[in-house]
Amino acid sequence: MSKIMLKIDVSPREKEKPLISNLILAASLLAGLAAIGVVFLAKGVNPFFAIYKIFSGSFGSIYGFKETVTKSIPLILIAAGLTVAYRGKFWNIGAESQLLAGSAAATWIALTWGAALPGWTAIFLMFSGGFIAGALWGIIPAIMRVRFGINEVISTLMLNYIGAEFIKMLVIGPWKGKTQFGFPYTDDFPETAQLALLGNSRIHYVTLIIALLASVLVYALLFRTRFGYEVRVIGENQEAARYAGIDFYKTTIIIMIISGGLAGLAGVGEVAGLHHHLTYPDSISSGYGFTAIIVAWLSRLNPITAIISGLFFAGILVGGDAIQISLNLPAATVNIFNGVILVFLIMGEFFQKNRVAIKLQGAKWNR
């Protein structure tokens, strides 16, 4: 008697081939899109049409593409920073408030000294201040982790709430602008403290250049320098890092200076390039600190490919706005979109690492 049985066989892959890796990546993206399609279906919208709308909204027109580039700036910057942290297995979930710290510092500098300084000096000071503020906000969980062993996922996540509430307190309290008719805004930045825009777009190109530069520098930092080597050793095997005499404390602090600092720069770009004042956290960042996590992950923690995945997710943000209006879908759709994609990417990791085969069993063994 022979009974044919299906058996699922899972075994670790010995080598990760780039072709297979990329195919799996594409497949997880497609599967994610398919799952999102179900959400659209549930709302009575043709999923193909919705997805078409999203991408035509963000990449299909010049206006849409300009918006996509604008929104990709903070994503690329933050993702570059997160790449450093995640390579060292420091799970920084707090880029959102590190961004806010940067924008608060920039606002303070702009409003205090901006008018008195020549343009480029003010801008330079704002970016420096934003970097330092983001870095300081990022160092807090780093110290908590290395000194007291406090899990950074919790601390960075919680610091997001503290940071956001603190900004709210500033803009409805001491920093509330006298010229803003009671709105929760600070006063507008003097012109010397505003970033120039590219043509008739909202692309604040200075920040864009900084973002692209940061991506290249982070790449070089990770794969060409001693520090990058130590980060990767820590991330891959903490015990080996200890054995190799790598200073855990110092490295973690520097990781978070870079990660928080780059998020801070993104915050400077948002207030100096787009809003020209500080206001409610939700208006300053549409969840860039969280979306950038997905950007970094989709790029497989490579800051150069993060530029492309940053554009992709900026496109989804822009396209999401487009379908909200044209298809009358709730604003949460974009969040669902991002969340589902992340879940599928993470599931894809499993297939990157393991070979899964479905076998017909029985023919030989049972005879």
Partner: protein, 515 residues
């Protein structure tokens, strides 16, 4: 009634991704026999036994018990058929008592007074096979040997007639091994059959009635123990002649490189792991530390290599105090370290081979200049190590995890020896390696000795210690039970010292010096 009188595995073949782990293997064992299954690591012994135990299913072949073919698909099937397996790593719940652990695996424990039932049967088995065990002790309170007895009891409770033991002595002291062998003999006498997986020739010669040798997935030989000798078995196992003894060049020891004075180091739980140790290591000398693991070896090595703080005492390398200096400083001053558990401490599995080849040296010249790493130089350096230390790999641009354990260890040894350290600290350097790689690593350590370096070797493998050490200190509960010269160390004493039953009068450093 006995469930298994004869068991035969016929034509067993099993492949993983087109690579044969077992190919057409035949094996036979009858009641009352102790069969040694001999082979190097990766030869396919464990795969074969996992098939018998139902963890794997063979691609082809039959298992025949008492001339009936049986199908074993899961461990449950094999237990029902009367097969039990004692794994190398015990599967016991640490916080439960012996009786509770045994009860866990049983289906037919009476509802009332299960304790009494288990106790009675434990004492029955204890008497029959002379196994001493206290059913009320928690597992963590037991020594490795006692834990192993619990595993054996578990199998006996399930009425196992055939016991598979996977390297059972790897965690035992010589004394405990002796006791285990007595138990095995009594069980065989009682009609049980035992398959002993091992790569220790002495054990096989000592206790088995027959031996089957597997090499590269194929049975290469089998014989009654009376008809073979160790040399022959070793040749079958590796497929060529092996040096069982090295020709160690007699050397006068040189200057003192390491001096440890009254060192006290605490363990992870705040216990005193190293208790006021004093010793010295000299150039042209391999100083061995023998002992069952967990007696302070790890803490001692970590203190010397800068990975753990000592609470008092001194560590001096060539007149420079290195007590409680960081691992990086210790390394730069000339102490290199081949760590135990190489996959966990010694390498970063996902990084490339060349990136692993500079671990610990990555921060200093010539590999690091200013902030940047010189990857061309690093790759050259790695190519050199790969060539000089016979590491077989298609390329250095591969994650190091794609190498075999032996090749990884060769890379680590190469990496640590290349800088010609004053002192090389090696912890269990050949643990789990096949004979070929083991021989190679030992030769490298001896070469370092001849070049004028000092070597501190921590090992549980007595053969290894006897082969390459000039002096051997026996550690027990953080103290030296004696320091033996290679010549005067005989196995009987060392076994007693390892178990703390014998302590030699301490020699003063001055007396040492005069020798």
């Amino acid at each position: 009634m006995r469930k298994i009188n004869d068991l035969e595995m016929r034509g067993i073949t099993k492949s993983f991704h087109g690579f044969y782990a077992n190919k057409d293997i035949n094996l036979k064992i009858s009641s009352g026999e102790v069969l040694g299954l001999l082979g190097e690591n990766g030869a396919g012994k464990t795969t074969l036994m996992n098939i018998l135990y139902g963890l794997y299913r063979p691609d082809e072949g039959q298992i025949i018990i008492n001339s009936d073919e049986v199908r074993i698909k899961t461990p449950k099937d094999s237990m029902r058929a009367g097969i039990g397996m004692i794994h190398q790593h015990f599967m016991l719940v640490q916080n439960h008592t012996v009786a509770e652990n045994i009860a866990l695996g049983l289906d037919d424990v009476p509802f009332f007074f299960p304790d009494r039932y288990i106790r009675e049967r434990i004492s029955g088995f204890s008497e029959k096979f002379d196994m001493k065990i206290n059913p009320d002790k928690k597992i963590w309170e037991l020594s490795a040997g006692e834990q192993q007895r619990v595993e054996i009891l578990k199998a006996l409770f399930l009425e196992a007639d055939l016991l598979i033991m996977d390297e059972p002595t790897s965690v035992l002291t010589p004394q405990e091994s002796g006791e285990l062998f007595d138990i095995i003999r009594k069980m065989a006498h009682d009609g049980h059959s035992i398959i002993l997986i091992s790569h220790k020739l002495d054990e096989i010669m000592d206790i088995c009635s027959r031996v089957a040798v597997i090499r590269k997935g194929v049975t290469v030989g089998g014989a009654d123990i009376g008809d073979v000798d160790k040399k022959e078995l070793a040749r079958m196992m590796v497929g060529r002649d092996v040096d069982l003894k090295f020709d160690k060049v007699p050397l006068e020891r040189g200057e003192r490189v390491l001096e440890v004075k009254k060192l006290i180091v605490n363990g992870d739980r705040g216990n005193t792991a190293v208790n006021s140790l004093s010793f010295s290591v000299y150039r042209n000398e391999v100083f061995g530390i023998a002992g069952v693991s967990g007696n302070g070896q790890r803490e001692l090595v970590e203190a010397i290599t800068g990975l753990r703080r000592s609470s008092s005492g001194e560590i001096i390398l060539e007149n420079e105090a290195l007590t409680n200096k960081s691992a990086r400083i210790v390394n730069t001053r000339g102490i290199t370290h081949v760590p135990e558990e190489r996959m966990k401490f010694g390498i970063v599995p996902n990084l490339f081979i060349y990136e692993n080849a500079i671990l610990k040296k990555h921060h200093s010249k010539p590999f690091s200049r200013l902030m940047f790493l010189d990857y061309d130089l690093i790759k050259n350096h790695t190519e050199n190590i790969v060539e000089r230390y016979n590491i077989s790999t298609p390329s250095i641009n591969l994650p190091i995890k794609s190498l075999s354990g032996g090749n990884i260890q060769k890379l680590i040894i190469g990496r640590e020896i290349e800088s010609k350290p004053a002192l090389l600290v090696a912890s269990h350097p050949t643990y789990g390696l096949d004979i070929g790689a083991t021989e190679y690593i030992r030769r490298q350590i001896l070469a370092r000795r001849e070049e004028g370096g000092g070597v501190l070797l921590v090992s549980e493998d007595l053969d290894e210690l006897f082969e390459i050490c000039d002096r051997i200190a026996v550690i027990f509960k953080g103290e030296f039970m004696g320091i033996l010269k290679a010549g005067d160390a005989d196995i009987k004493d060392i076994g007693l010292m390892m178990t703390g039953s014998l302590k030699l009068p301490a020699q003063t450093e001055a007396a040492e010096e005069n020798k």
